[in-house]
């Protein structure tokens, strides 16, 4: 760790401060919730790396997605991700956000999470061990040094791609777009027809 090098602090304080104070929104759904308490308690201590639990997404820096993502969970993830302030990093645990993992042919889980929100790094494993999580944190530091952890910039520049994919899976979203969209996505939305399965009662019930 180069936390004690004062020269580096004076040269680029923003990178050093973002590295060594990662406030994490522990979005614990799926299988990974069982791996978070060992990481933050006494045996494998995450607070010495500067990683601390943030009580609200408005105070947070790092977004941890632990495990598989169902379609209902994706709605909550998008709302939480859009509330976080700007330089934000996302790390995904396990093999389910990479390519579907164990649920590769399920009708209700998301296979590649990178198409819906931008992800900076993946940790392999089903679930990864706490030592793997710490190695991932140090790799994230190296990425921040080289300016390679720019998921939030990708989200801002290609927002219509992400919003189009989110609407394909979730239907019409209830919140307005975060950044202004291009004109082309409005035309596409009117032209697409979704196939409806005509059954007696299934269409009449809705939330």
């Amino acid at each position: 760790m180069d936390r004690n090098q004062i020269a580096k602090w004076l040269k680029s304080p923003d990178k050093m401060a973002r590295k060594y104070s990662l406030g994490a929104v522990y979005f614990c759904t799926g299988c990974g919730i069982i791996e978070i308490p060992p990481v933050i308690t006494s045996r494998w201590d995450a607070e010495r790396f500067g990683v601390v639990a943030a009580p609200s997404p408005r105070h947070a820096n790092l977004f941890l997605i632990t495990g598989y993502v169902a379609v209902k969970t994706l709605k909550a993830i998008i709302r939480t991700y859009e509330q976080m302030p700007e330089p934000k990093y996302t790390v995904a645990f396990g093999s389910c956000p990479i390519n579907g993992g164990m649920y590769w042919d399920s009708y209700n889980t998301i296979k590649h999470l990178d198409k819906y929100i931008p992800i900076d790094g993946w940790i392999a494993g089903c679930m990864p061990r706490p030592e793997a999580i710490f190695i991932a944190v140090t790799k994230l530091w190296m990425m921040i040094d080289k300016d390679a952890a720019n998921g939030y910039i990708r989200y801002r520049e290609h927002y219509d791609y992400y919003r189009r994919n989110q609407e394909k899976v979730l239907g019409k979203l209830a919140w307005p777009p975060l950044y202004p969209l291009n004109k082309s996505i409005e035309v596409e939305r009117k032209e697409s027809k979704s196939k409806e399965y005509k059954e007696k009662e299934l269409l009449s019930v809705s939330e």
């Binding site: 379609v71 709605k75 009708y107 209700n108 198409k115 979704s194 059954e199 019930v205």
Partner: protein, 161 residues
């Protein structure tokens, strides 16, 4: 205990089949009787806890089979009551007046199999979000085709650019 109960059920309702596969288990198959009568009869006989309501899709015989699981707190006995309903436009009556906790089980079966329960006030989606296809637990729903169509057809960011 089970033999006495079996004799009592057979004497009261004619034409139903009762099996005892092993100790403390009983299976009852109904063809034309009223399910509500048998459930109320068993509820008075100390079987007052509805454990679950499940469903089986017999696609070759063109029928759905609803299974009601009852158990008792006094004896360690478990009773399954099976009822077949036809597969086109499936609908059935709800047993909420007898067991109030069957509301969520019937909601789940309605969402995943497509069976309509008359009398259930809350048949809204439980797990699925924005679902526009067949009910997914039926045996003629091809999950691999659905995944290829919905999720794998989305291009990655490089292909989009």
């Amino acid at each position: 205990m089970d033999n006495a109960l079996e004799k009592e059920i057979k004497s009261k309702f004619v034409g139903i089949e009762v099996f005892i596969p092993q100790k403390d288990r009983m299976t009852i198959k109904i063809k034309k009787e009223n399910l509500v009568d048998i459930l109320s009869f068993l509820k008075d006989k100390e079987f007052n806890y509805l454990t679950a309501v499940t469903c089986v899709d017999w696609i070759d015989e063109n029928e759905f089979e609803l299974v009601y699981h009852l158990s008792s707190f006094r004896d360690p006995t478990h009773i399954m009551i099976k009822k077949r309903i036809p597969r086109e436009n499936p609908s059935f009556t709800s047993i909420i007046p007898i067991f109030k906790n069957s509301q969520t089980y019937e909601r789940e079966i309605h969402e995943l199999f497509g069976i309509y329960f008359e009398g259930n006030p809350r048949l809204i989606p439980l797990f699925l979000e924005n679902w526009k296809d067949k009910p997914p637990f039926r045996k003629d729903f091809d999950t691999r085709e659905y995944v290829k169509e919905t999720y794998d057809s989305i291009p990655t960011l490089e292909e989009y650019k």
